[in-house]
Symmetry: C2
Subunit: 252 residues, 2 copies
């Protein structure tokens, strides 16, 4: 008979991952409804409708896809490491593409409307997050997918890569919240305090994003959801352990 404790824990993991996906998808849908229904829809003509592509792409790319790219290490923790790495890299590539489309949309719109770039805290945090995300992606590619660095360097870099990944996800969510506040104050400042549907919807989007971040953070940092040691991978990485004095580099 199976031990009921690990089974209950496994079930809890499935429920938590399911809840994270519901929250992630809800954040994308709420952004699409906000921009599509309350803010005039989407276009690619420099207008406000091109601006609307920006929030959608950023929430989709830097939050939902980035979060899921990290989560694959927990969801597929019993699959072959190389395949999981590949999936991690591919989802991050999709996140990068979505983010670049999103950033081009807002720069196009600002140019067309002759609005100054990069003056707000949202702009500063967003650009910082995107630049660091690009660096993290390239470094991850070089170190882990096409390993050009030595084993020692990889072992040293892995915990930094893992920490920065979660930090970037949190920074992306924080930047989205700033964007929500900015957009609401630019468009409905005079009525925001009367709880109009647009304001309530956007606030709800913000809370959903926070919940997504908290749940992802829990799933990613919880010890028992980490990748279990694999004998074959272990034999390859025994010397890493002695170098890092901590967790095995096979379990990011």
């Amino acid at each position: 008979m199976d031990n009921p404790v690990p089974r209950a824990r496994g079930l809890m993991f499935v429920w938590l991952v399911g809840a994270s996906q519901v929250l992630g998808l809800a954040s994308v849908v709420l952004t699409a409804v906000w921009m599509g229904h309350y803010s005039g829809g989407f276009a690619w003509d420099g207008s406000r409708r091109e601006f609307n592509v920006h929030p959608l792409c950023m929430v989709l790319g830097l939050v939902f896809l980035q979060g899921d790219a990290i989560l694959v290490y927990r969801v597929f923790r019993n699959e072959a490491k190389r395949n999981v790495k590949l999936l991690h890299g591919i989802i991050h590539l999709l996140a990068l593409i979505a983010s670049i489309v999103g950033i081009v949309a807002v720069f196009d719109n600002h140019n067309a409307a002759k609005i100054q770039h990069m003056y707000s805290l949202h702009g500063w945090c967003g650009m910082g997050t995107l630049v660091l995300f690009c660096i993290q992606w390239v470094m991850g590619l070089l170190f882990f997918l096409f390993p050009v660095a030595s084993s020692r360097l990889r072992a040293l870099y892995l915990p930094i890569h893992v920490f920065c990944g979660l930090a970037l996800l949190i920074m992306a969510i924080g930047t989205c919240l700033l964007g929500i506040t900015e957009k609401l104050l630019f468009s409905i400042m005079s009525t925001y305090s009367q709880f109009p549907p647009e304001g309530v919807l956007a606030n709800t989007l913000g809370i959903v994003l926070v919940c997504f971040g908290v749940l992802l953070g829990y799933l990613i940092t919880k010890e028992e959801y980490r990748r279990p040691p694999n004998p074959e991978e272990e034999s390859l990485s025994v010397h890493f352990k002695t170098l890092t004095e901590g967790r095995s580099p096979t379990t990011p």
Copy 2:
């Protein structure tokens, strides 16, 4: 002769803690300068000057003091556990007092100016963070300082307490960034895009808060900065380990 590797690591820890304190103090000073110099100073009369007490108290309480209350477990990781717990609880109590003064200031000001309460995303996130912070503080007090719960419950709750502590610090920082954006758009919306000193100062405050959060997150989660196992504490908590299957509850 001492081993130079642990010494270098110890030195790095001291530098990182020092940098975190510089960033934390800088965030309090920048907030005080912003409110004191650019926003009319401080008072307790329901006016905008009473509102100005709010950002200062929240940055001091929910960010700087809350961060340092968590950090004591790393800085004093070789001191007696009971003393560190006490310090952790006392600094959190100061954080709680500062936060309550801050929240009273903004409610007083909104009442006097007949401004609606709790309509913005900043308000939603801030109230959520403060309520959860109070619950976390009371739970910590009951579970760990005056342990009324059983050892088994304490061992189960500890990882949740640790995770929630860091999550609340991040939520507090995110809420401050939202407050900065709100305040700037309410007071200097028309000139914000021309990089006025007030805007640049407030944006810089936001970036300093982000850096403080990232550094604290690194110091708190890094394995080698955790409290080393203590033989006496270990003998008391051996049975916790078997219950939690993870980290010892003596090393939060």
